[in-house]
Amino acid sequence: MIPNPQLNKNGELQHLLTIDGLPREIVVSILDAAAPFTEVAEREVKKVPLLRGKSVFNLFFENSTRTRTTFEIAAKRLSADVINLNINTSSTTKGETLLDTVDNLAAMQADMFIVRHAASGAPHLIAQHLRNIGADHIRVVNAGDGRHAHPTQGLLDMYTIRHYKKDFANLTVAIVGDVLHSRVARSQIHALNVLGVPEVRVVAPKTLLPSEVERMGVRVFNDMREGLRGVDVVMMLRLQNERMNGALLPSTQEYFKYYGLTPDKLELAKPDAIVMHPGPMNRGVEIDSAVADGGQAVILPQVTFGIAVRMAVMSMLAGN
């Protein structure tokens, strides 16, 4: 059996690369560990000394504001030193390879890499390379790789669901939108399944669904009204125009008509259903402003919880 590259020989989390294949106990332990960190933000001194003296490198090979900022805040609230690498202006544009960059940062005594990359598998490659060069004391957190995974987003979504719904045992959850290009959706589906959510639905036009998506353990709906009926949680996805090659959609107006979350479509869900979105939102494309700013939206709490969840992940990795 090939060992899970995220776990050390004691079965503890060493890197966070994907939720796929993580034991349920580890997922639950991250959610449990995150709860005490929410309180740190309410103190006069918003800092705890867990990562004091550690150097955390934000390696973002792809644009991001929210994820990079929340990782930076999380690391700083743990008292780490945070170094943001602006890859667009760095040596990569002069031709340095990814692994040469990693070698150089390892030589600068890095303790943790937060990696975002357009290529699926880049964080795995880095983790494997660190092992090969005998530098596996350096931890790797995947902050989004290609279409593959965005595990901290999946975890913060689970934290949010647990916060509002208390328990995963009787929920019906709909993931709506551009599943095809979405690493967020993949991480959400793996997390919902490992936590035992009985019904996970994906709602999208056929052109925005990966082939054989049913094999991930989801029910597929092409009609949004059918897909939202009676759900407890609506997880919207961003329409990823920048990742689309060719014409998968007639127009964003038509997309909004059929797959935009409007108040009348939301009425089909349970009255206490919550609405989530990983951001950034395209208002009037996948979500109506009346819903995004409405009483059922928990989109901003997701951002706040995301800091606590990232603090928990970094603390666990550094302590294992």
Partner: protein, 165 residues
């Protein structure tokens, strides 16, 4: 092995030691989990008016890199203004002093207290830091291989047990 002290009796004696020195404005902060149980009892017994605080010091521990994150604890809750307050930190057992060092550091991240005292049920020796209790009704010596734990039974009463590490 020395006879184990009666926790309920020690709580009463601890309250007697503290009574002449506290005012209604004195704030108690229990260290999770045993210290919180004792602090809850002292808070009622001494008729204190400040809301009770509780602290999870695991983010401040110096042995975090050996022990990792300890799950299952609640967040710290300090529901009063620490600045210029008289605070009594409450814990079950005083041993190396490292927990108290962590608690002091954490408390200062909430503000600058006027005074901090320490109340414990038992001092078991073995200090590794220059820390002493202000109020302590019982001392005993235990070998390092044993740990003294406070437990709460189903009827809510407190009991000490000794566990071989």
């Amino acid at each position: 092995m020395p006879t184990l002290p009666q926790a309920t009796e020690l709580c009463r004696r601890l309250a007697d030691l503290m009574r002449p020195h506290v005012t209604p404005a004195t704030a108690l902060v229990g260290i999770q989990t045993g210290g919180v149980w004792i602090a809850e009892w002292l808070h009622r017994e001494l008729g204190l008016k400040q809301p009770l605080g509780s602290m999870n010091v695991s983010f401040y521990r110096d042995d975090y890199h050996q022990r990792g994150l300890q799950g299952g604890r609640k967040p710290s809750a300090i529901p009063f203004d620490v600045a210029d307050a008289h605070v009594v930190i409450v814990d079950d057992v005083l041993y190396t002093g490292r927990t108290i060092r962590a608690a002091l550091n954490e408390l200062f991240d909430y503000g600058r207290p006027a005074r901090i005292d320490l109340a414990v049920l038992v001092d078991r020796g073995g200090r590794e830091l220059p820390i002493a209790a202000t109020y302590c009704p019982h001392t005993l010596q235990l070998p390092a291989a044993q740990s003294l734990n406070l437990e709460r039974t189903e009827d809510g009463s407190l009991e000490f047990t000794v566990v071989e590490k």
